[in-house]
Amino acid sequence: MAVLKRCPIPPLLPLVIILSFLLAGCISDDPMSTFSRDGSAASLELDLFALIWWLMVAVFVVLEGVLLYVVLRYRKRPGQEDVLPVQTHGNTKLEIAWTIAPALVLVALMFPTIQGLGILSEKHGGDAINVKVIGHQWWWEFQYPDYGTNPQGQPLVVTANEMHIPAGKKVNLALESADVIHSFWVPRLAGKTDLIPNHHNTMWIDAKNPGEYYGQCAEFCGTEHGMMKLRVIADTQGEFEAWVSAQKSPQPAATGVAAQGATLFLTKGCIACHTIAGNPAAQGKIGPNLTHVGSRTTVVAGFFENNTENLTKWIQNPDSLKSGNIMGRDAPVYKVPELAMTDEDVKMLVAYMQSLK
C-alpha cells in the first residue's frame, strides 16, 4: 500500500491505451477495418474521424495533463492544517472564455460534417449500377434490376450474401427489409444504413480496386444477428460482365448424383422456400435464391466456407452451425419423421447444390 500512498494520481493508463490504438490504427488492414480507404465513402468518413480524433487527442492530453498537475501540485501537505487555501469562488471572464472556446471548435466541426452528409446522400446516375438489398432474418438478398426480368417481373440476377460489383463504379443501393430492421455495413467501403420495413432507404458504395470486402448486419435483428454476414466482391469490369451473364442463365437439368439430389430437393419440400431458376418447381421466396449457389465462396450468410463438409453439416442439421436459424426451426424435413433425410440423401443434395455453378 505504500506504493499507492505515494502515487495518488491516475497513471496515464488511458493515454497509453489510446495512443497504442492510434499506432495500431495506422497499420490495421483487418477485414472489417474502418481505417481503410478502399471505398470513397469510407475514405470521406475516415478523414472526418481523423480530424476529430487529433483534435480530441490534443484536448485529452491538455485536460488530463492539467488534472494530473493539479492533483500532484495541490495535495494537502503537512503544516497546512491551520491555513485555508484562498477561497476562490470563480472567475467570470475565465469561465466565459472556456465556454466559448469549445463552442468555436465544435461549430467548426459542423462544416466538414454537413459537407460530408451532402456527398454521402448523393444519387449517382451515368454508368452507376443499381442493386436492391433486402434484409432477411438472417441473410442478405441482392437483386440486380438493371439486367432484365423474367415473365413474373422478377430480376434475372438475384443472389444471396455475396454481392458482386464492378470495381471503380458507383453502386446505388436500395435498402429494404423483408422482416425486421437490419443494417447494411461493409466497413472498408462505407458506413452503414438501416434496412427498415415500409421504408425505402438508399446509400451508395464503390470499391476503388477489385477485391473481397467483408460486411455484417449492424442492427440487432434477433437470435442470429451475430451470424448475418456478407461479402462484397468487386470484380474488374470484364469479370463482372461475365458474372452477370452467368447469373442470368438458368440452370440446365442436373445429371448423375446431382439429378437425384434435384429430385430430393422437390420431395423433401426444399422448393417451398428456395428458388432455382431453370427448375420450374423451385420458386420459393422465403429462403435464399440458390440458382448459382455452387459458385459462391461461402454458405450460411457468409460465416462458413462453401465446401462439402460445411454444406453437409448445414443440410444435415442446420442448428449445428447456426442454432437459431429459420430453416432448422420451420422446414418440415427436420420436423416430420417421415421426411427425415438419410446420410445418402444429404450427399445427393450436397452434390446438387455443388452442381449449381
Partner: protein, 624 residues
C-alpha cells in the same frame, strides 16, 4: 411485529412509530431508511447486472466459443443493460436523493413520505417483474432499446418482451412518483434562508433530474402502452405488415432515452461537485456556471435524440440539425469539467477515498465526452454506430462516469448514514483495481469498434483482428469483479469495525454534516437558518462580513451536534408514523401488470388491491 395501537373501520391499523425490526423497515416512511432500502436493493441488482456482464464477456473471450447459445446470450446482454440502467444506476441515484437532499436543505423529511415509500416498493416490484423471465418463460432478448418490429409477436414469440413492457411500466410509475416528491420537497421545504442560489449542487442536480424524469418517463410509458397493446391485444402501432411504423418506436424511445442518459449522469455530477470542494477545502469554482450548465444539459437533452438514429435514413437535413445540437451539448459538459479542475486548482486536496473516485470520474469522463464528439459528426458515426466503439463510449460515460461518481458518494456519505468510517486502505485498493480494470475492459473496445466489431453479436470468427483485445477486455472485466468483492468486504467490515465518524469527519460544507451520524429520525432538532451557500462551512469559518453573523474561526469551536443537541430528549417533534399502505398499493399495481401476463382475472384482482390500498391510504389517521 408491529405494535397495534388502534384500528379503523375495515382497514389495517397504522403501525406504531415505536415499531422495530423487520416491520419497521417494511412500513417505514423515513427518507433515510427508504434511501438505504433503495441503495441496498439497487446494489443487489448491480451485482446481478455485473454477473450478466461477466457471462457476456466470458462468451466473447475467444472467437467461435459455444459457451452460451445465442438465445441465452441475447437475454444476458439485454438484461445487463436494463438492470444497470433501470435497476442500478437510476435507483442508486435515488438512494442518494433520499438520504442527502432533505438533510442538505435542512428538512425533516420529504414532502410526501408515504409516496416516497410507494416509489421504493414500486421500484422493487418493477425490478422483480422485469427479472421474472429468468424463472418463467425467458427474459427480454431484443436489447434494452427493443426496436420494433422485432418486439412484435411475429418475431418475439416468447414471454420475454411481456416482462419488458410491464416491468418498465411499473418502474416508470415509481420514477415519476419519486421525482414529483423531490421537486416539491426541494421547492417547498428548504430551510429559511436557503435560496435557490444557496442550494447545494447535489440538490440542484436532483431537481434537474427530477424534472427530466417527470417529463421523460411519460414518453416511454406511452410507447410501452402502445407496445403492450400490440403484443397483448393485437393492435398495430408498430406492425409494418399492417401499416404501422417501426421508426415511431425509435423516436419515442430516444426522446425518452436521451434525457435518460442525463438522468443517469447528473446525480453523479452532483456528487462530484460536493466531494471535490470538500476535499480541496475550497468552494466549488463557478457555482453558477455549474448550475446553469446542468440546467442547459437538462434542457438540450431534449433536442439531441435523433443522434441515436443517424443510420435510419432521416436524411441529410435532419442529420445535420441533430449533429449540431449534439455538438452544442458538449459545451456545458466541458464547462463542468473545467470548473471541477478549477475547484481543485489552488486547493489542499486531502487524498481520501471519496476524492479518488471523484477525480477518477473526471479523468474517465473526459474520455467518454471526447469520444462522444466523434459520433456527433454524422458521417463519422456512420462507421461507429452499433459497434464496440459505442459500447466503449457509453461505458466510459456510465461506468467511468456515473458509477465512479456513485461510489464516490457511497464512500463520502457512508459515515453519515451508518455513523462509521469506511476503510481507507481497502477503499484505495477498490479504486485502483476498478480504475485499471475499467480502462482495460472498455478502453480496448474503442479499438475493436473502429476495427469493425459490431455490437450485440454472440460470437465472431477468428482472423478479423478482434481476438486479442477481446481477451484483454474479458480478463480485465474480472478485475472489476474483484474490486467489487473488495468493496463489499469493506462495507461489511466497516459496519462492524469502522471507527466512529462523528458529525463531520470530512470537514465538509453542507448541512447534513452539522447533525449527528447517523442522523436522528427527525434530522434537525431545530431547523437551521441558512446565511450563505455552503451553509455549514460558513458556520464553521464564517467570514465575518456576511450578515454580521460571524462564527468562530475554526471548526473546533462549533460544538458537535449543534442542531442535534440534546437529541435524545426531544419528543416534541412530530414525525409521520409508519404505514402499510404504500406497500399494499404498490403490490396492487404489481398484480395488475403481472396479472395481465397470466390472466385478466388476476389483473382485476390487482385493481381491487390497488383500490383497497388507495382507500386505506386516504383514510389513514395521522397517528393511532
Amino acid at each position: 411485529m408491529a405494535t397495534v395501537t388502534g384500528t379503523m373501520g375495515g382497514v389495517l391499523p397504522r403501525p406504531s412509530i415505536h415499531t422495530t425490526g423487520f416491520w419497521s423497515w417494511v412500513t417505514t416512511v423515513d427518507h433515510k431508511r427508504i434511501g438505504v432500502l433503495y441503495g441496498v436493493t439497487a446494489f443487489t441488482f448491480f451485482l446481478i447486472g455485473g454477473i450478466e456482464a461477466l457471462a457476456v464477456r466470458a462468451q466473447l473471450a475467444r472467437p467461435e466459443q459455444g459457451m452460451l447459445q445465442p438465445a441465452l446470450y441475447n437475454q444476458l446482454f439485454t438484461m445487463h443493460a436494463l438492470t444497470m440502467i433501470f435497476l442500478s444506476v437510476m435507483p442508486l441515484g435515488v438512494a442518494f436523493f433520499n438520504i442527502v437532499v432533505p438533510l442538505q436543505i435542512g428538512a425533516r423529511d420529504v414532502a410526501f413520505p408515504r409516496l416516497n415509500a410507494l416509489s421504493y416498493w414500486l421500484f422493487l416490484f418493477g425490478g422483480i417483474l422485469l427479472n421474472a423471465g429468468w424463472l418463467f418463460g425467458g427474459s427480454p432478448d431484443v436489447g434494452w432499446f427493443a426496436y420494433s418490429n422485432l418486439t412484435g409477436t411475429d418475431y418475439s414469440m416468447g414471454a420475454g418482451m411481456n416482462y419488458y413492457v410491464t416491468g418498465l411500466q411499473v418502474l416508470g410509475v415509481a420514477s415519476v412518483a419519486g421525482a414529483l416528491n423531490f421537486i416539491v420537497t426541494i421547492v417547498n421545504m428548504r430551510a429559511p434562508g436557503m435560496s435557490m442560489m444557496r442550494l447545494p449542487v447535489f440538490t440542484w442536480m436532483t431537481l434537474i433530474v427530477s424534472i427530466l424524469l417527470v417529463t421523460a418517463m411519460p414518453v416511454i410509458s406511452i410507447a410501452l402502452i402502445e407496445l403492450t397493446f400490440d403484443r397483448l391485444f393485437g393492435t398495430n402501432f408498430f406492425n409494418p405488415a399492417l401499416g404501422g411504423d417501426p421508426i415511431l418506436w425509435q423516436h419515442l424511445f430516444w426522446v425518452f432515452g436521451h434525457p435518460e442518459v442525463y438522468i443517469l449522469i447528473l446525480p453523479a455530477m452532483g456528487i462530484v461537485s460536493e466531494v471535490l470542494p470538500t476535499f480541496a477545502r475550497k468552494p466549488l469554482f463557478g457555482y453558477a456556471f455549474v448550475i446553469y450548465s446542468g440546467i442547459v444539459i437538462g434542457f438540450m437533452g431534449w433536442g439531441v435524440w435523433a443522434h441515436h438514429m443517424f443510420i435510419t435514413g432521416l436524411g441529410p437535413v435532419a442529420n445535420a440539425v441533430f449533429a449540431l445540437s449534439t455538438m452544442l451539448i458538449a459545451i456545458p459538459t466541458a464547462v463542468k469539467i473545467f470548473n471541477w479542475i478549477g475547484t481543485l486548482w489552488g486547493g489542499q486536496i486531502e487524498m481520501k477515498t471519496p476524492v479518488y473516485f471523484s477525480i477518477g470520474f473526471v479523468a474517465v469522463f473526459i474520455v467518454g465526452g471526447l469520444s462522444g464528439v466523434s459520433h456527433a459528426a454524422t458521417p463519422s458515426d456512420f462507421q461507429q454506430s452499433d459497434t464496440y466503439y459505442i459500447v466503449a463510449h457509453l461505458h466510459y460515460v456510465l461506468f467511468g462516469g456515473a458509477i465512479f461518481g456513485l461510489f464516490s458518494g457511497i464512500y463520502y456519505w457512508f459515515p453519515k448514514v451508518t455513523g462509521r468510517m469506511m476503510g481507507e486502505t481497502l477503499g484505495k485498493w477498490h479504486f485502483w483495481l476498478m480504475f485499471i480494470g475499467m480502462n482495460l475492459t472498455f478502453g480496448p473496445m474503442h479499438w475493436l469498434g473502429l476495427n469493425g466489431m459490431p455490437r450485440r453479436i454472440y460470437t465472431y470468427p477468428s482472423g478479423m483482428g478482434w481476438d486479442f483485445w477481446n481477451l484483454v477486455a474479458t480478463i480485465s472485466s474480472y478485475l472489476i469483479a474483484i474490486s467489487m468483492l473488495i468493496f463489499l468486504h469493506n462495507v461489511f467490515r466497516s459496519l462492524r469495525k469502522g471507527p466512529r465518524a462523528g458529525n463531520d469527519p470530512w470537514n465538509a460544507r453542507t448541512l447534513e454534516w452539522s447533525i449527528p451520524s447517523p442522523p436522528p429520525v427527525y434530522n434537525f432538532a431545530e431547523i437551521p437558518v441558512v446565511l450563505a451557500r455552503d451553509a455549514y462551512w460558513e458556520q464553521k469559518y464564517g467570514s465575518g462580513h456576511e450578515n454580521g453573523q460571524a462564527h468562530a474561526a475554526t471548526s473546533e469551536h462549533v460544538s458537535e451536534g449543534q442542531y442535534g443537541a440534546a437529541a435524545d430528549e426531544r419528543h416534541d417533534i412530530h414525525m409521520p408514523w409508519p404505514s402499510y399502505w404504500p406497500l399494499i398499493t404498490a403490490f396492487g399495481l404489481f398484480v395488475v401488470f403481472a396479472g395481465l401476463l397470466v390472466n385478466v382475472v388476476f389483473a382485476a384482482l390487482g385493481v381491487l388491491i390497488l383500490f383497497y390500498g388507495v382507500y386505506g391510504w386516504a383514510l389513514e389517521p395521522v397517528a393511532e
